[in-house]
């Protein structure tokens, strides 16, 4: 059961990573990279590291995603 969940999460992170690199639309890529962090935090939880999972969920999928969006917004403003 544990291995099955871990494999599903691992494959999902790989797909998320691929989308984050290769998707044409940047907002989609940013969301995908946030999702990878979210899957990673669940994997940390399964591996009995709840404190690392908390940090990853809050910083990896929360703060970093918003910062990416702000940077994207700024770049678009400059290019207009």
């Amino acid at each position: 059961m544990f291995i099955a969940i871990a494999i599903v999460l691992g494959v999902a992170s790989l797909i998320g990573g691929y989308i984050a690199i290769h998707h044409e639309k940047l907002p989609v890529a940013i969301i995908a990279s946030g999702l990878v962090s979210l899957f990673a935090s669940v994997i940390f939880l399964l591996l009995a590291a709840p404190d690392v999972a908390m940090t990853e969920a809050a910083i990896g999928s929360g703060l970093t995603t918003l910062i990416f969006f702000y940077v994207l917004n700024k770049i678009r403003q400059r290019n207009d």
Binding site: D51, M54, T55, A58, I59, G62, L63, L66, N73
Partner: protein
């Protein structure tokens, strides 16, 4: 052609190095000597139910001080790099109207997120998590506030005051350890108490409260600064 061969050779070399690492890897059947010491004497020496916290705050307390310093430097450098002149500031930049759902939900959820963050760092010595995690959770509450109201800002004075008071308190507690107990950041200057109580484990809860406030203030400052930089005229 030569470039491609070089790339392939490089990849093969890296693969060889990692294969060696992978091949030589053996899982530890028993704890190493240091880990064994922590596992056996951690509860007795430090009095914290959460061994990770015991190691992070007491045995490796100096490293934690270094980490907090690095985070402070990062926040300071971001503020410095994103500084712009007052004339370039657009007071109320046009923003998309926040959805009703996000606006209403944020008013209900933000206090709960703050409470969870504070719970995490106050109970750092009992339950998983600690100052850094609690601070990160508090910062994600600030993030939700910024998302609900993009022109929201926190006064830099408040952030600077919270941040510097907690930093100074952390170092002062460390110095008190030299004066009253065995050395820098020794946590026995307060009674160890009963294992598992809220008021136990010496100064760990106190230090983690300050670390939590400091990390929360720094991460919120990064968010507020970056959000503020959106108002710069191009």
């Amino acid at each position: 052609m030569i470039k491609k061969i070089l790339i392939i050779a490089l990849l093969a070399g890296v693969g060889l190095i990692f294969f060696d690492l992978f091949n030589a890897y053996q899982g530890n059947e028993t704890l190493s000597k240091t880990a064994n010491y922590y596992a056996e004497n951690g509860a007795k020496d430090v009095g914290a139910a959460n061994l990770v916290t015991a190691i992070v705050v007491t045995y490796r307390g100096l490293d934690t001080l270094g980490e907090v310093t690095i985070l402070f430097l990062a926040a300071a450098i971001i503020s410095f790099a994103l500084k712009f002149r007052k004339e370039d500031f657009i007071p109320n930049r046009p923003v998309r109207i926040t959805s009703e759902l996000l606006d209403s939900a944020s008013q209900v959820i933000v206090p709960i997120i703050f409470m969870v963050g504070i719970y995490i760092f106050i109970n750092g010595h009992l339950t998983p998590g600690g100052g850094f995690q609690g601070g990160a959770v508090i910062a994600s509450g600030v993030l939700l506030m910024i998302m609900a109201n993009p022109n929201f800002g926190i006064s830099h004075k408040v952030i600077a005051t919270v941040e510097s008071i907690s930093g100074i308190a952390f170092v002062l507690i460390g110095v008190l350890g030299i004066v009253l107990a065995g050395g820098f950041l020794d946590n026995t200057i307060l009674p160890l108490g009963k294992l598992g109580d809220l008021f136990s484990a010496g100064v760990i809860p106190v230090i983690y409260t300050f670390v939590g406030l400091k990390v929360g203030a720094e991460l919120s400052n990064i968010l507020v600064t970056i959000s503020h930089a959106q108002n710069e005229k191009n």
